[in-house]
Symmetry: C2
Subunit: 243 residues, 2 copies
């Protein structure tokens, strides 16, 4: 049995999926607080806007962690309002209207086919190359459970699969997919992040930012985020678009 090389620090390596939004930014801060040395992983995947990648870069910089951006090509397959210009991002006047629609049990049009599956698969590749046994993803099943790939049963099945797919799994170094936010409300996530010193002003959550990069204030993500700050009793630092 060979002795593994000691890490550059006492921290264990980890991969954190980072969109630059509120949830993944909180997740990154939490991974650091739990003693990990994270590599943040973002994707250029044919988003209609690049605001979130700019935010991810700023968030990683502020956290002092390495930031990888992988280019992938989801737009070519179409099928979601988030990557397909021909589909319109739904807007609502308030959270009550959104909640009524979400209760209809429909998968929202903003769902990107297999997105978390693809993102986690890349995270597994990075984890394997970097010798990390821990992957963090900020999925959340409470406020908005319309996406099938945000559910705990999906994450558990992914972890199982990943351990059969990889060298690490075969060699007995079990990979763990951490979802520390999965059962928190948006308000609880905000409170957690504020406690960890997260600066939410550099994060972006909006599905459809204005030309100035500001949040639209009316898409599902904006409404839930604003409600999170309100419920948490924390001033909302979001910069809304002037348009």
């Amino acid at each position: 049995m060979s002795t593994p090389a000691p890490p550059t620090s006492e921290r264990r390596p980890a991969v954190v999926l980072l969109s630059g939004g509120l949830d993944s930014t909180t997740c990154l801060a939490l991974a650091r607080q739990q003693g990990f040395e994270p590599v943040a992983l973002s994707f250029r995947y044919g988003q209609r806007h690049t605001v979130e990648l700019d935010c991810a870069r700023q968030v990683a910089e502020a956290a002092g962690v390495e930031h990888l951006v992988a280019d992938i090509d989801l737009a070519a397959f179409g099928g979601s309002a988030l990557v397909d210009d021909a589909l319109e991002v739904p807007k609502h006047d308030d959270v009550a209207e959104l909640a009524a629609e979400a209760a209809g049990d429909e998968i929202p049009i903003t769902y990107v086919p297999a997105r978390n599956t693809i993102f986690l698969s890349f995270a597994v590749a990075v984890a394997e190359v970097r010798g990390a046994a821990d992957i963090f993803i900020g999925v959340n099943a409470v406020d908005y459970s319309g996406y099938p790939d945000c559910r705990p049963e999906f994450v558990a099945a992914f972890e199982e699969m990943a351990n059969l797919a990889t060298r690490a799994g075969v060699e007995g170094n079990r990979l763990t997919i951490h979802t520390p936010l999965i059962s928190l409300t948006k308000a609880e996530i905000v409170q957690l992040g504020v406690g960890l010193g997260v600066d939410y002003s550099v994060t972006s959550t909006c599905y459809d930012p204005g030309p100035d990069g500001g949040a639209c204030g009316r898409c599902d993500a904006c409404l839930l985020r604003a409600k999170g700050f309100a419920d948490a009793g924390v001033p909302d630092p979001t910069r809304y678009t002037a348009a």
Copy 2:
């Protein structure tokens, strides 16, 4: 209950992962023979050579099927002789030497971290957008079982995960990952393909083709392929490099 629009043909849509090699080309022919109308899906993933993509294009054209090529960025993560210029592709003098090494239970250096996981994840996205419930992958666990993500237990776990990840799974249209070659020897695959009319002269299997695009004849993939033709009693149509 709404009546689904009839397909453009009587064939059911499917996604077939196509590398342009012997196995995936046979898999494509088999999917067609089983009554599917496949979309072939290939990847530009930082391969050291593009011979296999040229072959995939020719194979898809010969089969008369639509061909998608997705750009992904595995090379940035490194970690495999197949995508990393700094690592050398292992060469052997004959199959016996290769077999002795493979029996050592080591995962070969040509293993690309999480590759099949990533490829299948993209196939799930395409399947979901195209309304296909069937994905074909030409993995094979007999001749060469060193890759963890070629094992039946990996494929079963992936299928389970995919059905929790997707709209199709949630709505009860179960996705199936077909691995028709998984328990066949290379010779049996060749015999199957010849029976289906596959022209293996346009396929490429080599891990390290020469500057003229010809096969090296000495990497693991070349040795197993040559043995497959020999064992099947079929003349080997492979074009070897002049170098």
